[in-house]
């Protein structure tokens, strides 16, 4: 944690730059979300006064946050502060947990996703999700990618093959696996598996991609590949990413939101958050003075 202050620096100045990742080159020009477009960007997800309880424990407290369209937003905060809970609330994966209760609204576009007649399945098709633990299905790579399409009734073989190719290309997996598309996905490396999970999520053409610590189990090279991929995906999707890695947030996120004990403490363009956070708490966390 000693390097956090250091890594909060713009990527270009980072000492580990010489790692042959060409990370800097692949960064978009406005890589660190220089606030100028924040006003122009409309929000795709708006969380309004949202509260959530696991039984008696109050996990999310009055959250108000907006996620801008086609931007990467990072959720940071110490362990147990409710990042994953918030993320899961957006595609209602929390519904599976017994004894949860919530209040408030989350709007996707202008739809209240907690409305009575909201079709959860439809919602999840709009909000793809990538988990911390890689979880490819024990099926072939091909079947993994087109899973979402198959369950929504797509059977045209040519179409499915196209989807597989484009998704794998966009996740930079195509070259690595195109010769063994019909082999079992569980035989891939961890990094490949995670990229496959991302491919699986984007094959469904969602609007929002929710990623919960996608790189926490990966080595730096795989991490770099995925980060690269996230910046790539930003062109088309709105990405919300939970991460414990400040460097990562700094590298990929246009906006960063800091959560603490179930509350949203501060949110802003990543550069502002890292360089001149408004609140002391944020600064302490980012610079590693607690945690």
């Amino acid at each position: 944690m000693n390097e956090i202050a250091e890594t909060a620096l713009p990527v270009e100045n980072r000492p580990d730059k010489e790692i042959k990742l060409n990370l800097a080159d692949s960064l978009p020009k406005n890589g660190n979300g220089s606030g100028h477009d924040s006003a122009a960007t409309e929000s795709i997800i708006r969380v309004k006064d949202f509260n959530l309880w696991y039984g008696k424990s109050h996990a999310l407290k009055n959250i108000n946050i907006e996620f801008p369209r086609n931007r990467v937003t990072a959720l940071i905060g110490p362990s147990g502060c409710g990042k994953s809970t918030l993320l899961r609330s957006i595609n209602r994966m929390n519904d599976l947990i017994d004894g949860i209760r919530y209040e408030g609204q989350i709007l996707l576009g202008d739809q209240d996703i907690y409305a009575r007649d909201q079709d959860v399945i439809q919602l999840r098709r709009h909000c793809g999700m990538v988990f911390q633990k890689t979880n490819p299905f024990p099926k072939s790579i091909f079947e993994n990618v087109i899973y979402a399409r198959r369950i929504s009734g797509e059977n045209n073989k040519r179409k499915l093959a196209e989807i597989v190719e484009s998704s794998l290309k966009r996740t930079a997996l195509w070259d690595e696996v195109h010769t063994r598309l019909h082999e079992n996905a569980t035989a891939m490396s961890g990094g490949q598996q995670q990229r496959l999970c991302i491919a699986r999520a984007i094959a469904n053409e969602p609007d929002v991609l929710l990623m919960d610590e996608p790189c926490s189990a990966l080595d730096p090279i795989a991490t770099a590949k995925i980060e690269e991929l996230i910046l790539e995906l930003r062109q088309q999707f709105t990405v919300v990413i939970v991460t414990h890695n400040m460097q990562q947030a700094a590298r990929v996120a246009d906006y960063t939101a800091f959560m603490y004990l179930g509350q949203l403490v501060e949110m802003g363009p990543t550069s502002e958050m890292f360089l001149k956070p408004k609140l002391k708490q944020t600064e302490d966390y980012i610079t590693g003075r607690f945690g």
Binding site: M93, D98, V120, F137, R150, R200
Partner: protein
């Protein structure tokens, strides 16, 4: 121990003292204890298997045999005609063609006495027949009894004499060291007495490998001279065996002095008095006359001799149209007589009061075998055995009945040996003509003698090359094969079959002991179809106790194995859907709190004793279900149908309504739907029975016209207008005999067709599916074996879907929310199904009679060609109905198996990691899709092993089968009859199977087969489960 705590500061030295000593002791004890226990378990299982194998092994081990020296025997001057011995193999009687009758000790060959039979002082003995079985047993006192074998002899001068061979057994009670005067009083020399030794049994001899040369004594004088021996198991008893031959009675036959070629006889003994009652004697003369004499017998109280009063003399000569008659044999039952000519014509005659008349068409013993002539066939067999090919035309040289007088064995000059018996169409049908049913392996020379065994279907056969063999007729096992001097070899097989005695061509006597208790079983008998006596053809049959020595036991394991699998199959048929759906529901859909209650209670169900289930099934469920079969069948379709309908309608509902369905509401709804399904079924059942299973057939033929099958009167029509499922499946057996109805004779096999409506209904389903598919292709195109088909009316021409859509929209008034559009949707879909169903029913009504006519027609005895689907389902050879049937067992056993399958499958499903489900749900899959596409495939191997373990349990299940399966061994999978399983056979029969008997060993073999079956299944299940574990670990 590497993680033993190490305190900092101390030197980093490994020191065992830091851990409490107790830990090591307990660890050690546990280690040793577990290892020893494990080894003992393995040993116990292995020991059990070893014991079973040890019990089974004798079934297949070769018989033990040895030779008894008979050096003392001197040949008689003439050609051997007969050799016989008593049941203990102590005295041997032989008679030659000069009428010399010699009795010798079977153990040493010493002569007891010899005499020339009175009638043959001047004439040659040309024909001799003696009954192999005892025809009378006369007990003078407890200590002495005589066993008599009827004997008939014919002379070269045309005389026929009747008499017997008598074996006298008497038991002597003497003190251990009898005083000399006592011995002398009994006519025994005290010096010789010292030499008497206890005889040992052949088994003991075999194990000691000692030569069988016991000492016996000759006592007495004249034809009362006997062999005396000490009985093995009781030192105070001595047995004396003697034998006599006498021919006191001359039978008057009009033979005109022509030499007698063959004689045969059968006698009926009044059972309670052991007195002869009716005697039939048959004779063939060298002039070709075939004569039968029927006599009513009595015993002269003064002379104690038989006296006969001739009832009839039958001359069969005129019926013998071809060939020279050579052999005559009369069935002990005296209802049939066969005459065989030298060139192989087989004539059968049946008793007609005081006459015998031809029975079946004349057959040819030497007819071709599968387009090979008899000579070719025998020669092929001979070459197979390494004998030179035989030449010349075949001549019959030997004809003899096997025990039970059903199979007739015929030997010929080529060495060929065949068995013939009369085959029946079914159990109740009258006997049919004799058929060649068996061809045994040939001898090396012309067959010289065939002697039947007296307790089983085996026989001793000798041929002129000197071979003496013993063969079991059913198993075809040749269990004895010895060579003696060639010539007219004769042999005999005493009652207990523990040995054979043969007289060789050179007149020498041979005596072997043979221990072959299980020759009636061979691998072929156990697994392959066998043509048992009187059966219409080869069958696999299990019938271990037949109630009579004349009918052999049938030991095919196949019906038991099939029964076992059948039980398993029906149990799984019931258990798999219920258990797996239950497991999926509990693991994937049930509320966690419910699940905590349901799962343990299902596991408690597993401990329900199966005998209780069997008892309930047999005593309550079977009789209750019997009259409600149609309702149950309807329910089997209606209840799942209702659930599907409910599920489908549920899906149509908007989420706002669905979210109101709490777990409690859902459970109540499901329960109500089940009740509704049962209610509807019980309403529909009787109606369904009346329409689909009309009572035509239980039908008394008198109610129906024999040609048109229309009811003969309004009253008949009214009686026929009911349903009767049970008689529909169990009735309708063909008329076994012609019957007279309304002055018209209905032939055998008369049969009223039915089932047309049922066939129409059955055809409805495929027609419906076909029609639905055709409609879809017609408007929207489709795939046919992955080849695309263009729509006939593409949407551009006639857009039916959008027309329907617009109609739907119009009716629902453009609203998309609320209940009304759902009602319209459901209504539209149901109406669509109804329209297609009605169309399909129309098509089926039109086409099904044609299809039935094409596929299911047969020639009816009164009405010509008749299309009758039913005959193919429940006809004479088709399905039958019994109250305790496989469906009942399936239900009861299903209940025993459900908890096992359920809990293993549920475990497998719930061990699928949750992140798999999360991944699928996050992709936008519904819970059902997640279950079907992710969870079930991931747990598939666990589910498979659950099913296999369930099958293993069902296969080993005993009590339910014993109580509810009826117990008849069957070879089919019909649902409406019962079965007999391996386990049920063992449970019910082991108590009555004698120790060491073939039956008992076969039951052990059944146990071994069962063990292997369940072992295979559980190993398979475990193997698959291990694969699942590995797979889940990788996730």
């Amino acid at each position: 121990m590497t993680d033993a705590p190490q305190t900092s500061g101390q030197p980093q030295k490994f020191n065992a003292r830091q851990v409490s000593r107790n830990v090591y002791i307990i660890d050690f004890v546990a280690n040793v204890g577990i290892r020893v226990g494990g080894v003992f378990v393995v040993l116990a299982v292995l020991g059990m298997v070893a014991y079973i194998i040890w019990e089974v092994k004798p079934l297949f081990s070769p018989p033990a045999q040895g030779m008894v020296a008979m050096e003392g025997a001197r040949p008689t001057p003439g050609r051997n005609m007969l050799v016989a011995c008593d049941e203990y193999r102590r005295t041997v009687v032989r008679i030659d063609d000069g009428g010399n009758a010699q009795v010798v000790s079977a153990l040493t060959g010493e002569k007891l006495h010899e005499a020339r039979l009175e009638p043959f002082k001047d004439a040659g003995l040309t024909a001799l027949w003696a009954s192999a079985r005892s025809t009378a047993t006369i007990s003078a006192s407890i200590e002495a009894s005589t066993s008599e074998h009827l004997m008939v002899a014919g002379s070269s001068t045309g005389e026929i004499w009747q008499g017997r061979i008598s074996y006298d057994a008497s038991y002597l009670r003497l003190p251990l060291n009898p005083p000399d005067d006592l011995l002398q009083r009994k006519g025994i020399s005290p010096a010789e007495w010292k030499e008497i030794r206890t005889l040992e049994t052949p088994e003991e001899q075999a194990t000691k490998e000692a030569s069988y040369a016991p000492k016996v004594l000759m006592v007495g004088s004249g034809d009362r001279r006997a062999v005396i021996e000490h009985l093995p198991n009781d030192f105070q008893f001595y047995r004396m065996m003697g034998a006599r031959v006498d021919l006191p009675r001359k039978l008057e036959f009009p033979t005109d002095g022509a030499a007698i070629v063959d004689v045969g006889a059968a006698v009926e003994m009044l059972p309670e008095h052991d007195k002869p009652y009716e005697l039939i004697t048959g004779a063939i003369t060298s002039k070709g006359r075939v004569l039968l004499k029927i006599e009513n017998m009595s015993i002269n109280p003064m002379s104690d001799e038989w006296e006969g009063e001739e009832a009839a003399l039958v001359d069969l000569t005129r019926y013998i149209t071809a060939g020279t008659p050579r052999f005559i044999r009369i069935r002990t039952q005296r209802d049939q007589c066969v005459v065989v000519t030298e060139d192989g014509k087989l004539y059968t005659f049946k008793r007609d009061k005081r006459d015998f008349v031809p029975e079946f068409p004349v057959d040819d013993v030497f007819k071709a075998v599968e387009n090979k002539s008899w000579i070719e066939h025998v020669n092929a067999q001979r070459t197979g055995r390494g004998f030179a090919a035989a030449t010349g035309a075949p001549r019959v040289t030997c004809v003899e009945f096997l025990i039970g007088d059903i199979t007739l064995l015929i030997g010929d000059s080529l060495g060929g040996l065949q068995g013939w018996f009369s085959t029946k169409l079914n159990k109740d049908a009258p006997a049919g003509p004799l058929n060649r049913t068996r061809i045994h392996s040939p001898g090396a020379g012309a067959i010289a003698a065939i002697v039947m065994a007296q307790t089983q279907k085996s026989f001793v056969i000798t041929d002129e090359s000197g071979l003496v063999r013993a063969i079991h007729n059913t198993s075809e096992r040749e269990f004895f094969n010895e060579k003696v001097a060639p010539g007219a070899v004769r042999a005999c097989s005493p009652l207990k079959e523990e040995g054979f005695i043969a007289v060789a061509g050179d007149g020498r006597l041979h005596h072997w002991w043979v221990h072959a208790p299980h020759v009636d079983v061979s691998l072929g008998v156990l697994i392959a179809p066998v043509w048992y006596e009187s059966y219409p053809g080869p069958v696999n049959h299990w019938e271990s106790t037949t109630g009579s020595a004349d009918v052999e036991s049938k030991y095919s394991l196949v019906p038991l194995i099939i029964g076992t699998l059948k039980g398993g199959l029906y149990a799984l048929l019931v258990a798999i859907p219920l258990a797996l759906l239950g497991a999926v529901y509990t693991s994937e859909f049930m509320h966690r709190k419910m699940r905590a209650v349901v799962k343990p209670s299902m596991e408690i169900m597993a401990s329900l004793p199966s005998v209780v289930l069997g008892f309930l099934a047999a005593m309550y469920f079977a009789p209750e279900a019997a009259p409600r079969m149609p309702t149950l069948i309807v329910a089997a379709f209606v209840c799942p149908g209702f659930f599907l309908l409910y599920g489908w309608m549920f899906q149509q509902l908007p989420p706002s309504i669905v979210s109101r369905f709490t777990p409690v509401v859902t459970t109540v709804a499901l329960f109500l739907i089940l009740m509704a399904g049962l209610g509807v079924s019980s309403l529909l059942g009787p109606r369904f029975e009346q329409v689909l299973f009309p009572a035509v057939e239980s039908a008394d033929p008198a109610l129906v016209d024999a040609r048109t099958f229309k009811p003969v009167s309004d009253e008949a029509a009214r009686r026929l207008d009911t349903g009767d499922f049970r008689s529909w499946t169990s009735g309708g057996a063909e008329l076994a005999q012609p019957a007279s109805v309304r002055g018209e004779t209905l032939p055998r096999g008369w049969w009223i067709p039915g089932g047309h409506t049922l066939f129409k209904f059955l055809m409805w389903i495929p027609f419906g599916l076909l029609l639905a598919w055709a409609l879809k292709v017609f408007f929207a195109g489709g795939n046919f074996f992955s080849r695309p088909i263009k729509p006939v009316l593409p949407p551009s021409v006639f857009d039916l879907p959008s027309i329907l859509n617009r109609a739907r929209g119009a009716i629902s008034g453009g609203r998309t929310a609320g209940l009304w559009p759902v009602v319209v949707n459901v209504g539209f879909s149901l109406a669509g199904v109804a329209v297609i169903g009605a169309l399909a029913f129309g098509v089926s009504s039109l086409l099904s009679p044609m299809i039935e006519g094409l596929l299911f027609n047969y020639s009816h005895p009164t009405a010509g060609s008749v299309a009758d689907f039913r005959r193919f389902v429940t006809g004479p050879e088709g399905w039958k109905y019994t109250q305790t049937n496989s469906l009942i067992v399936g239900f009861a056993m299903g209940f025993a198996v459900i908890p096992i399958i359920y809990s293993i499958a549920e475990d497998a499903l719930s061990t699928v990691p949750n992140h798999m489900r999360a991944a699928s749900l996050a992709c936008g899959a519904s819970r059902w899709q997640t279950t079907v596409r992710i969870v079930i495939p991931a747990a598939a191997s666990g589910i498979f092993s659950a099913i296999v373990i369930g099958l293993g349990r069902a296969v080993g299940e005993t009590m339910i089968v014993v109580m509810a399966a009826g117990g008849t061994p069957v070879m089919d999978m019909q649902p409406l009859v019962g079965f007999r399983s391996l386990s049920a056979a063992i449970a019910t029969e082991i108590a009555e199977a004698a120790d060491g008997s073939t039956h008992r060993r076969t039951l052990f073999l059944a146990g071994l087969v069962l063990f292997l079956m369940t072992f295979f299944m559980s190993t398979l299940a475990e193997f698959v489960r291990m694969r699942l574990r590995k797979k889940l670990n990788r996730m």
